[in-house]
Symmetry: C2
Subunit: 237 residues, 2 copies
């Protein structure tokens, strides 16, 4: 089963791949909120469901392979090669999520775990075929950008709906949803608050209360927590 050149010649374990991907994703989250690049051991441990000691061990191994840099007691960061590899994995994952919804017929709340299992198993050829089948897509079902085969990842500047000022005249487009929680995804689906939908933020209850959101056909109340994971783009009017 031909893997990518990088993957096969490093002959990194599945576990190692998981670490790389987790580092990449945690760093993305840090960049969105704080301004840091350094991923901490504990954050990784929590994300991977593993004891902190285990992380130190694997991080050392990845550092030996020059996939990450490790400043003890400070944090971990990806090297260029490590990032390249992480992007490859993220590409696999997101292409698979889209494939599973569009072609195989799963709901968007069902695909994350399956993509996690499959991303390690598919060949580059398989990746190429489904990429073609899907018409070289740029976004997955949750609106997450899919890195190109060359490792480029881009996307519009987005802000969470939670940060917006209520204004019945302003129209936003939901672009991305920062969650993989099936329950939440099903809930959003039910409210029709899915990527591509146009909405208006009508009002916000004081002291961190609910937000009133209008779609084209209905209105609903959502918690600030939910509004925090909904990334929107301003779209005219």
């Amino acid at each position: 089963m031909p893997k990518s050149q990088l993957r096969s010649q490093l002959n990194l374990s599945e576990s190692g791949e998981d670490y790389l991907k987790a580092i990449f994703q945690l760093r993305e989250e840090l960049r969105r909120t704080h301004d840091s690049d350094l991923v901490t051991t504990n954050a990784l441990a929590a994300r991977l469901g593993v004891a902190p000691g285990s992380v130190t061990g694997m991080v050392k191994k990845l550092a030996d392979l020059e996939l990450v840099t490790h400043a003890p007691y400070r944090g971990v960061n990806l090297t260029e090669v490590g990032e390249r590899l992480a992007l490859e994995l993220v590409r696999h994952h997101r292409l698979l999520e889209l494939y599973l919804t569009r072609v195989v017929g799963f709901r968007w709340d069902e695909v994350h775990d399956q993509a996690d299992a499959l991303e390690h198993a598919i060949s580059e050829e398989f990746e190429d075929r489904i990429d073609e089948m899907l018409g070289n897509p740029a976004y997955d079902p949750h609106g997450d950008p899919i890195p190109t085969k060359e490792g480029q990842i881009t996307g519009p500047e987005l802000a969470p709906l939670a940060a917006m000022i209520p204004d019945p005249d302003r129209i936003y487009t939901i672009v991305r949803v920062l969650t993989q929680d099936p329950t939440l995804l099903r809930y959003l689906d039910q409210l029709r608050l899915t990527p591509g939908t146009h909405i208006r933020l009508m009002a916000r209850a004081p002291f961190g209360g609910d937000l009133r959101v209008a779609t084209e056909t209905a209105e609903c109340l959502i918690s600030p927590l939910i509004a925090g994971v909904m990334l929107v783009m301003h779209s005219g009017h």
Copy 2:
């Protein structure tokens, strides 16, 4: 990622699954040629590319789980549960092979290794979807029967072309090809000797020489070795 009840509650390793599948397949081969049910340790070791000692260890583990019975110095056999599980894996593998050729667009010589990697990773739901997409198929691209979800496996009585008596008036249908060797598969494809093709056995050179085979459009010579892996069915005339 929901696996089958059996697979998840036993929480068998990937390696264990490979052993089960290998035992199942070796037993099939034994039944076709000899009359034995017992798979030997060495045969398993050779099949799995592993030292005989390693097999003993894993077989013990499988015996503890009551998936196989082990008569020392005699061989290994599957229990009912073990066979059920092996059939599930074989079903995954063969469905995937068909899916990869029919839907994803791979050639029949490319799919075996990929199916091997994927068969451990797919969920039961994924299996169900591709089964439906393919119209509940009974055979994979090589003509191998696909077990049903209930674990039934059937197929017509077949004999290798190598065992047939030359007769220009007798028409056979190629039903199954007992190989996964990519080189051989490409060769057969080139000669159009693929499952579903009608052929006649024109002649056979003496002393284990080549067989002359006629398709509807051409004639070719094939070695007894190749004729041994081509299973055919008599089909009138």
